[in-house]
Symmetry: D3
């Protein structure tokens, strides 16, 4: 199912890369390189993984070079979503030395950050592949990188929860302004139109039944024990999707998944996954 | 020395917050809240730390609320740079419910991400406080967040390396295009003017001597053993600053710091520090 | 149900208004007013409807004045979604003459355009209020005004279809690349995650059954006769939502609605509804 | 005289198209196409007029495809300003399926909106081609689309009034702050420099004479009867241009034009002209 | 006639000031001030002219302070267009020290640059005040500062030529693609509509007559001797405006003006006028 | 040493050029050219220096043409930093007439402005080439053009002072908030990290000694007489760099340079250097 590993639209990518280049170059540029590397020097280099992991953001990282100099050529050896071992050559870069040196760090920061998220996703997804549960992300993302980090989760084999506040309804406790869950779900359904899914967070079994009766598409079960989750799965009996959430770690995820929930959302995939070590090795 | 914990310029902060709000709200807004929470509902809530750590980005996180509704009032209980224990109330927020709910996640993403970096910085800085060494950051930052992550390092008690390619010279192996280190340093010195510091990466003792003779301000010692670092400290004898770099972890940093180097740079402070858990608890 | 008449986020509104002011003022400003109206002149004026209709965009139109001069005061007499008759005073504006004159046309262009859409929506919604069908919009909107025009549809009593290509799946004939509808729906379901609704366009009864079996949330019935629609309603029997589409006009909409479909989408609401005539009458 | 059918500058076009693509794609992109159409699928399609009308915005609409994928090829069969009948093939598009499907609606929204305005312009211009009068537009345009809609008017055979408040003086009643028309015109003339034309709105014959004596370039006659207009034409006797304005429709325009006025301005050309129906037919 | 000394629209001013602040502060801010001046320090200072000249850009320069800190108070002592002598206090600034120090240079760069242009304009305008000629600017402006420099010319007592290529026609030799001046003027007149003035550059007396016959509003006489200009004035006899242009200096302008031309355009007003020395003196 | 004549990053250049084109073209474009020059007309022209001087900004000026039409070809005959005499052909431009005419003025404004600064720099640098002193620029630049004007100084043979408030510390009198120079320098050193140079302005010999003892990299000597400067040079004895500043002109610079100072900063290079006259001569 590689069809879903499609990156954000080009203009979204370019916007991030331009911001990253701007913060690294400001208006003076790469003063080291400009000072000591001749304008006509050329070079070639290899993007290399220094640790095992899942690649994500390779094409968009490489695009950094093109944004500085469209004459730089890049050639990928692997694709986003591929698992690679330490030492694997991910891509080749060749062209004028100045823009390659100036773009190097920005490229690596993109690839390392997104590959780190993809790698973490794959690891937890692997732990629960024997269950029906799918790993999904949250809105706990790094400011400005939402679409990219959600892409990295897809590259790692996870699925996306809603992209933001705008594309799906998720009713939490603070949205119940004096109304019950059923009434709130019905109000939301009437208000947002037919093209929007509705999920609601419940705290106990009676709320779960009320939510299902109101016609929700999914129910969020926050900070429940495996026993509670199992009970919810039984009650629900497939009438809507069930999502487990709240402090779930690689240590606890198997027990959660084996309860039969459909979705397990993990904030740390996007806010705390460590970077995958990648480097640019220049030809000698 | 609180003077140095000064955040980026206002327009830089607002630009990040607006981008973060835009990716969460898109053009449709918070459809859940708009559908079920009345326009005139008001609420109050507390930003709470759920784990021990150093706070960073609190004021800028809270500014998210003002960007949606300038009538929302916020009041901080602690300041950036403060160490807090789990359960500490960091700030109070009160005003119209709709914009508070819409800005909540963006605010927390900012505070959690930056406080995570500050917390990690403080931890490693504490390990080496008996030495002359200072913890410094690198350019291995999250794309678009350079200035913010460097601010978080300052809030955690670390110091900043250069902000980008534009404000200091750092000559690495790939910049030595057929010239020795001494000649390269002199070329850079002549080219960049008097207002720019010059650092150079060396691989051995002979390069170190050559760099110092050429008048560098600092020397980067990459991936050296404590024994090699100690030798470099002796040879240098205070003629320039020495920076140790390369895969240094909390496990190895004490040995590195005790060699007598001036600076220890750590990429993972900014690319892999886990988020500090912070939450917004609404008044019942 | 006024909860749903919530305008786009503030920054989206301001972005449109600033673009509109920029195209009217360029860099030289309102040269007529600057030339002949003294800087200290003040005035007051009334926004008046010159025809019967539904108001939409009034607050955002009035915000134009604040963007030029925050000291201008505005006071609304009606609210978005209200039906007004010709001659109704919609709002009062008072303050310095120069910015009021400079912002007048931009304000009126916003209010007139959006109120025109709201008025058209209300008219067709009224025609079918005895049926179960809801009027919904399409993606046939004016470039750059999507969120605003969809807001106007809501103000007129219609509902929104998806906001764009990003927030819901709508599978059309061109998406069936050698696969049947059922297989395509399943592929989409697997790829987009649980937070996204899936609708599919069908051409005949057999495709309808296949789509429903694959678990779609809604089916689009394009350019079908009332008889065909009625047959589809019977076959569907409430297993998913049914949307009628394609050249439906005020003349034909009643017959369509009475077939029992759930949704009727009308492109002309947003691309061809005539402006509602509104004017700014200055106090003598 | 095709020379005048020149579109806005490239950066103005690209800015609109990018905004339109952004509102349709957000940061997640075309999730339907990404989910079910393979990355390497290719297609070809024809832009077709579904009704008789004047084409406008064809090249700029087609440019949408290039903004998503510069490898897409487009070939026009007609030119802006051409009158076409229903069924006419306007252009061919071929290339990768994904970007073609993603850009389709944005392209059609541009071409349909602008061609609708051009078509309406041509219709009214045709009604008065036996007179000296020229159809001109107004500032009653859709927010953000001023330059495009004025271009469409030119493509339809009309002429442009001023582009905004910045490029010509138009003195209305509200600008006469205690001064007569003559004094106001002279003040404006002195203030704005020699490169700016000056027009003034008058309410009766005595004001007309005063305006002409003050040296205006044109006079706006608002909401006058044909008899009043005819009298004004006689009095003016060619000493300046005369513009008729105010609620003029296709039903009344001939009588207005036959009075001998030079210009007839019509707001509805740009704010209420219905879209020309255009579609993208994919090759089977 | 102070009515004409109206600055560019607020958003145009803010855009320039924000760009200027961004290039001075980048993302790290004023590191000197942040390091050594306490956050709660306050100060007061006076903007002082260090040389005789005409003030321009004072309010917009002072706005720089508000953009960094809206709590800073400023109070002007003179107005744009005023002539001041060396030592004159132009304005007072008081508030927090940090933002005042950070904005100081940007403020002074704006005021000094624009006042320099206003001062030069006033000097040459004074030389020819006994003639009918008016000093006008050109499009030879500093990139990005067109509207500001043209404002400064107005503040100095000059008048504006067209703002750009978009608001008036100026036909030069390179526009005569095989047609005579008369035919070219007529083509332009037909193409651009009634709201645009038309000026044409001529090289000799026969072209002048041809241009006038074609109905131009103004004629540009480039690099002509006073004798040639005088002949042109006689031939023209008031039928259109005459503009002298081309290398005219303070030394030669009187002779040019005394020929009777209406307008004298001077590129060096905006591209080469030296800055007026202004400074910010802090209270002791 | 041509290595240092490296222009600002491409995106910084394009941003300035796009702003300059936007202010010249607005949304209507070059109405003269569009009206009278056929779309298919082609032309060729030469960029010529009309006075002796140093070229700067030639490539970036020529890039203006590519931004309007990438098919225009340009070919340079000289390089930035070259001294040319009046009449020298700097570059050739050929392609479609319309975009060449539309971009002409913007291109020339860039080249003329920057070449003027380079020319002035070279003139003063030549006066003191027999001394150890280097000419450096200041932050007294035209708003929005900082990086470009500093580039022009480099092209003229000068050196750059800091780019802004963000990349080096410069402690002036107003930064001494109740502390001595030594204490202030030490506070700054501790706060800003090792990658930033520190300069301090002193008023007399005792402050100079205090600054050197505190370890500054450079000392600014403002408005001192040659005798005072000479004394400072003797006291300093090479322990840090010395910069002379304050009203230094071509008439006084030799005496200043011969005192032995290292740096002489001149604000007028960037705020008052007159434009170099350059023109675009079209082939007949």
């Amino acid at each position: 199912m590689t069809a879903r590993i499609v990156p954000p639209p080009r203009h979204v990518i370019d916007s991030l890369l331009r911001a990253a280049l701007a913060e690294d170059l400001s208006t003076a540029g790469d003063i080291t390189t400009d000072a000591v590397v001749p304008a006509d020097a050329v070079t070639a280099a290899t993007v290399v993984a220094r640790a095992d992991g899942v690649v994500a953001g390779l094409d968009m990282g490489l695009r950094t070079f093109a944004l500085l100099d469209e004459a730089i050529t890049t050639k990928v050896g692997v694709h986003d979503g591929d698992f690679v071992t330490a030492g694997t050559a991910l891509a080749r870069v060749s062209g004028r030395s100045r823009p390659i040196l100036a773009a190097e760090r920005t490229c690596l920061n993109v690839v390392g950050h997104l590959s780190g998220i993809a790698t973490a996703t794959r690891e937890v997804a692997g732990l629960i592949s024997h269950t029906r549960a799918t790993v999904v992300d949250t809105r706990k993302t790094t400011p400005g990188l939402r679409a990219f980090e959600k892409y990295a989760v897809r590259a790692g084999g996870g699925a996306n929860h809603r992209f933001g506040l705008f594309d799906a309804v998720l009713i939490k406790d603070n949205h119940l302004v004096g109304r019950g869950i059923g009434a709130t779900v019905k109000a939301a359904t009437a208000a947002v139109g037919h093209a929007v899914k509705i999920e609601v967070e419940v705290e106990d079994v009676s709320q779960l039944e009320e939510a299902i009766s109101a016609g929700v598409d999914a129910v969020l079960l926050d900070n429940m024990t495996p026993a509670q989750l199992r009970e919810a799965v039984e009650i629900c009996a497939g009438r809507c999707l069930l999502e487990a959430s709240g402090g779930i770690t690689p240590e606890t995820i198997v027990a959660v998944a084996e309860t039969g929930v459909d979705l397990i959302s993990l904030g740390w995939l996007t806010h705390s996954a460590p970077r995958l070590d990648v480097a640019l090795d220049f030809d000698p």
